[in-house]
């Protein structure tokens, strides 16, 4: 009996020691704990997206770098109804109607060959400007997007996604927020004015919504790349979610920034 007590005392010590270590380790400062509740999106940004970025067109070149022929809708899961609309595409008509920016709306604009200028408009609004088509997207953090009249760029609600992991299982699972300096941006866009997914008249409707994830990758040679994963849903003109990913390379300055107005033909 005395031997058993000794074993139990040893075990309790082990347990107490482990609990103490756990308590000490759990109290270390984590990125999430350091964040003040009312901090601005700018101050919380885990990645720096500001600056000048250029699209490097290595995919869908034939459909992005030039305006493809009418009826060339490869890769887009459009519905038969959308096909009919695309088959009736008339750039001259769009131009006459003052609708030459139809292929520069949010679901299409990031696929246009262009440069981006990204800056903070205020503490909670990230501004993304494009030189092609001279469009401005505003990503609103921490509050609902403005709403109102549908527009080419619609309303975009944004929030940071911080790397996190849960360790353990069941009731002992514990969330860890870790590795400051990493994270991504999630943007949800709606309230869009109908436009084109592709320059040659492949339509998207006013019911379209888009979710984007913006990641930043830093290469060992110093290059920085924004990778945007875009998920476009359109119950009217798409048979399934249109899923694309594209990339922008960081540039040192705005020397090649070249604002060009929308064109329905080129």
């Amino acid at each position: 009996m005395q031997r058993n007590d000794s074993i139990w005392r040893g075990s309790r010590c082990t347990l107490l020691l482990a609990a103490a270590v756990a308590s000490l380790c759990a109290s270390r400062p984590l990125a999430a704990q350091a964040r003040p509740a009312a901090a601005s999106a700018k101050s919380l940004a885990p990645i720096d997206l500001t600056g000048y970025w250029v699209s490097v067109v290595t995919e869908d070149w034939r459909w992005r770098m030039v305006t493809p022929a009418k009826g060339d809708y490869a890769s887009v899961p459009l519905t038969p109804g959308a096909k009919k609309i695309a088959d009736a595409w008339d750039p001259a008509r769009d131009e006459a109607a003052g609708e030459q920016c139809r292929s520069y709306g949010a679901p299409a604009i990031m696929r246009v060959p262009e440069r981006l200028r990204i800056s903070w408009q205020d503490e909670n609004t990230l501004k993304v400007e494009t030189d092609a088509g001279m469009q401005t997207r505003l990503f609103h953090f921490g509050k609902s997007a403005p709403g109102g009249t549908p527009s080419w760029q619609g309303d975009s609600a944004a929030h940071w996604e911080f790397p996190s992991a849960r360790i353990g299982a069941g009731s002992v699972a514990r969330k860890m927020e870790v590795q400051s300096g990493f994270g991504s941006l999630k943007v949800e866009t709606s309230n869009l004015r109908p436009g084109y997914l592709r320059k040659n008249g492949i339509p998207y409707s006013a019911k379209t919504t888009m979710t984007e994830f913006w990641d930043l990758n830093k290469e060992t040679n110093g290059d920085q790349w924004i990778v945007i994963t875009a998920l476009v849903d359109d119950p009217e003109y798409l048979q399934e979610q249109w899923v694309t990913a594209l990339h922008f390379k960081k540039e040192a300055d705005g020397a090649k920034w070249d604002p060009t107005p929308c064109s329905s033909r080129w």
């Binding site: 482990a18 890769s75 070249d258």
Partner: protein, 357 residues
């Protein structure tokens, strides 16, 4: 080569090579074992390395919403659009003919590892863990018909020396950067970066970033190749998690056979002599793309190149190839508008509408 970093536990049931005198050995009680285990779990929970690993395991279904033609029916014979190739690569690509694939020694060749992103396939991803520590030793990406399994070593082992063998899967290591898995591949075999013969050398290296957001996985691949590329070639693609997919993990068996009598054992390698490629004008004829763009090059990837294109490009009046809309739809039931569509090939069966994607 020594496999550093991998522990070699004593096999269960194996004899202890150095039997020890069994004196004063106390058989631990179940309660004691539980206490110690609980203590260890608590300590591990609190002090585990602060990495934001996320689970990449699962079956990832391809979404061919970009470059469907390149990835499915295949690119035109001379279509190097979007590739930052140099003069040497261009010359080799222009000498290529698909008849080379009829050579018995080339019929079963695999594409290099970057074909995961270049190609059209879905894939399965799983991890292999150390049986003792539970740590992830490697991530694996399933093979395809023409690509072998990719192993991503996560245990910190170094890359082999420069002159080590180059297996089909290359040698890949990985590390977490936040929630992004970044991998680096060396020791690849020579192959292609486009199925129409644009070459990739055995000196190519590949950096890949695996970014998972919910049920969407995006992989960005950066290929550097001092032999064939003027600048790194970057490509980003996305997949969706799909538990209903059945994906084989190993490559399909391949047995070479004599397909063309004139190539069987004759030492003949089909090729096109310099200046004799008759397909260099095809893209211009079909799509109005100027030849200089068709032949690729770093300059052609940037927005400012559009200024040059503007005076050279002539938009065709109508679509001339693959003009049927999204396959599997009612719109594709009629093939009369699909001039040049591969689905008009005798024997090709249109997939039923409910099998789209």
């Amino acid at each position: 080569m020594a496999q550093s970093g991998i522990p070699h536990p004593v096999p269960h049931g194996g004899e202890d090579p150095m039997p020890r005198k069994r004196t004063h050995v106390r058989k631990p009680s179940l309660k004691r074992n539980l206490q110690i285990a609980l203590g260890a779990v608590l300590a591990a929970l609190a002090c585990a390395p602060a990495r934001a690993e996320i689970d990449l395991a699962g079956n990832w279904a391809t979404r061919q919403h970009q470059d469907w033609q390149d990835r499915n029916p295949g690119p035109e014979a001379v279509n190097y659009l979007g590739l930052p190739i140099n003069e040497e690569a261009r010359a080799r690509a222009l000498s290529y003919t698909a008849s080379q694939l009829s050579l018995p020694e080339r019929q079963c060749l695999f594409y290099p590892p970057q074909y995961i992103v270049l190609g059209p396939q879905s894939f399965k991803m799983w991890s292999e863990t150390d049986p003792v520590s539970g740590k992830t030793i490697a991530w694996k990406i399933s093979a395809a018909g023409d690509r072998t399994i990719l192993t991503i070593w996560m245990d910190g082992r170094p890359h082999p020396p420069e002159n080590a063998p180059h297996p089909y899967g290359g040698f890949t290591t990985g590390a977490w950067e936040g929630s992004t898995l970044t991998t680096y591949t060396t020791h690849v075999k020579a192959g292609y970066i486009r199925r129409n013969g644009v070459p990739s050398s055995d000196r190519a290296t590949v950096t890949q970033h695996f970014m998972r957001h919910g049920d969407t996985l995006t992989i960005t691949a950066l290929v550097t190749d001092p032999v064939n590329l003027a600048e790194p070639f970057i490509l980003s693609r996305s997949w969706k998690l799909d538990a209903n997919l059945i994906i084989p993990t190993v490559p399909e068996a391949c047995s070479p056979a004599a397909e063309v009598a004139r190539l069987d054992g004759t030492g003949t390698v089909p090729h096109i002599l310099p200046g004799a490629n008759t397909f260099t004008g095809e893209m211009t004829e079909l799509f109005g793309i100027p030849k200089e763009a068709v032949l690729g090059g770093a300059e052609t990837l940037y927005p400012e190149y559009r200024k040059k294109l503007q005076s050279l490009y002539v938009r065709p009046q109508k679509c001339t190839r693959y003009c049927c809309g999204w396959e599997g739809t009612a719109a594709t039931d009629t093939l009369k508008d699909c001039v040049g569509d591969y689905r008009q090939i005798p024997g090709f069966t249109l997939r039923p509408p409910d099998k789209a994607q």
